[in-house]
Amino acid sequence: MTIVNFLIYFLIMVGIYALLAMSLNLQVGYAGLINFGQVVFFCIGAYTSSLLATKTGLPLLFCFLLAMIVSGFFGYVMSIPTKSLKSDYWAIATLAAAEVFRLVALNEGWLTGGPFGVMSIPQPLRFLFSMENYPLFYLFLVTLCVIIVFFALALITDSPFGRDLKAIREEEDLCLSLGKNTRKLKLEAMVVGGMVGGLAGALFAHYVTFISPENFWPIETFLLWAMIIVGGRGNHAGAILGAALIQIFNVSTRFIGEYVSLGSDSMASLRMVIIGFLIIIFVSYRPEGIIKEKKKVYDPRNIR
């Protein structure tokens, strides 16, 4: 029980939020899809994986994969109305959809355990490690996931597919006029985003070993938004940086608390006030975030 343990825990949470932020960033930063219900992927991933693990005893690797597939499928469902809806309407609809899902998790007790949540979620390869070393292994697992997802997303967004997404973000009609099936492209972005979000949810559930509907309030979505806005939209490193910064900020207020004479209620409010201001200031004055979206520069000498 040392500060190192806290650091490991903290880094695991940063990793999980980084995955969620990268997933949101693919949707918002690349495809321009304003998703205010990102927490729904987190929720679906966490519940799918933990319910499969506790109720069917499926090997955890399959639970993780199925969590990603189910979340990805929900990404597909969410992408359906993007064809006919203006982006702000769609944004409001996603916010509502995420709340509906939380309510389903809360009210369908026969499946989800209702308000009691899912307990005793098994942990991957738990038997190989001692109590002290397991978090370190989990940190390794999460870091591995973050690295794999980072490079996979980098490959995806660096390809013609990524270029199409960026073009949709800015001029959808133009893409249509060039024969791009924008609906399919958005769908694919949502599916990939959903899968990454679902992975984050599964990683979270199997780490804390207990989940309940209280984990999936809309506030989590807003925190994720703050992460990608501060870190920088349209690049994956920005999402990771944003996740780290916002998490550091969130935790640091616990430590400042000892030196600043503010009640905890005020402290919690103040924290969210600052998150709100960060969103306002960054969108207004530095919309590109801390890490700017990288311009793809070609050297004319290399072309011929």
Partner: protein
């Protein structure tokens, strides 16, 4: 410039010397306190913390734990599981606390309890009272009685007192409400009563009229319902306005009188007239006196005394074990509970084999003239 630097350097050295000098002060025993300072139970948080502070002062005046003073480190759970876990981790891993106490909602507390159990951290909580806590492990103790016991008591009370058989129930849609509801329904049936409508409601809403309509839609003869302060205020007002609080026609039974109507009794006492229910037995006179002296008022909630008891029992057990090692303190907790009955009631502070209060007593209360008073038929 150089002069200032010199002064700062001197001050720095001085502070080091003073800081390192092991004068009389011994290193304090740190105890972590988790509290929902923001969230649904925030109204009571001042009382809850006062309970701990009273115990701390008293323990320190009496020489502390093994001659070392008790230091409380308070963290807010924000009623968010992720934040609660942050708080507990910070206490255990950064502040290196070995023993934690506090009280908060079950959804937030369960993962923390599991974490404590895994890492052999002693946890003495007050509510959560979800029956799920019974099986978490040997390091988890509760100073309050589990919901399943309360569910039985309220069901028995309501059936016997009213003599009715058609009941409708209304509980909040969270772990606390659900556990209490399940037990209440089970025991209503055991008593031969019929439940004609079961309403669960989402917290933090402003309009519960549709829920109330549903509650009364099947012509129930009596109601069992519980709330938190905010929802209690809103629901009482709306039920009154829709003519549903006529307790002579349809009596209401509330398992948690004080916390259900903490706000309502201050703001709209007249509409609550005649509602019956349960309360933890009032804290001991000694505690009440101390609380009044410190705060200049009576505590709103009996839970303040449960926190007081939790801390006092931890200190006693540590002194008894002659150690602050959580495992030793844990073993001692089962021994000291024979001769400490506590200032709070609810349980008799005797822990059963799972560290729970196996047995509890409640006060039957009724609201008369805007005050919660003991009820006798």
């Amino acid at each position: 410039m150089r002069k200032i630097a010199f002064i700062i350097a001197i001050a720095f050295v001085l502070s080091l010397v003073i800081g390192l000098n092991p004068t009389e002060a011994k290193e304090p025993v740190k105890i972590g306190i988790l509290c929902p300072i923001t969230g649904t139970q925030a109204v009571m948080s001042e009382d809850l913390l006062t309970g701990f502070k009273l115990a701390q002062e008293e323990i320190n005046d009496a020489g502390g734990i093994l001659g070392r003073p008790v230091k409380l480190i308070v963290e807010d759970t924000e009623t968010r599981p992720a934040a609660g876990m942050d708080a507990a981790r910070k206490l255990i891993e950064v502040d290196k606390v070995k023993i934690i106490s506090g009280g908060f909602s079950s959804g937030v507390a369960l993962p923390i309890a599991k974490y404590c159990q895994e890492h052999k951290i002693l946890a003495v909580f007050q509510p959560p009272t979800s029956p799920l806590f019974r099986h978490v492990g040997s390091y988890i103790f509760l100073t309050n009685v589990l919901d399943n016991y309360k569910g039985k008591v309220i069901a028995d009370f309501a059936v016997q007192d009213s003599g009715k058989t058609r009941f409708a129930t209304m509980f909040m849609n969270n772990a606390f409400g659900k556990a209490l509801m399940d037990e209440t329904l089970k025991n209503l049936q055991k008593n031969g009563a019929q439940v004609v409508s079961k309403v669960v409601y989402e917290l933090n809403k402003v309009d519960y009229k549709a829920e109330l309509q549903r509650l009364f839609s099947k012509k129930p003869e009596a109601i069992i319902a519980t709330f938190y302060a905010k929802e209690g205020l809103v629901t009482a007002k709306q039920a009154y306005e829709m003519g549903m609080l006529d307790v002579n026609k349809v009596p209401w039974y509330v398992p948690e009188m004080t916390s259900s109507f903490a706000s309502a009794i201050k703001k709209i006492p007249n509409v609550l007239e005649g509602i019956k229910g349960l309360n933890p037995l009032p804290p001991g006179a000694l505690f009440m006196e101390k609380f009044k002296k410190k705060m200049g008022r009576e505590p709103i909630t009996a839970y303040a005394a449960m926190n007081y008891d939790a801390l006092v029992m931890i200190a006693m057990a540590a002194n008894f074990a002659n150690s602050v090692d959580p495992t030793k303190v844990r073993d001692a907790l089962w021994k000291i509970d024979d001769w400490y009955r506590g200032q709070s009631t609810g349980g008799d502070k005797r822990f059963d084999k799972d560290g729970m209060q196996g047995y509890g007593k409640y006060a039957k209360v009724i609201i008369r003239n805007g005050k919660i008073v003991p009820y006798k038929k």
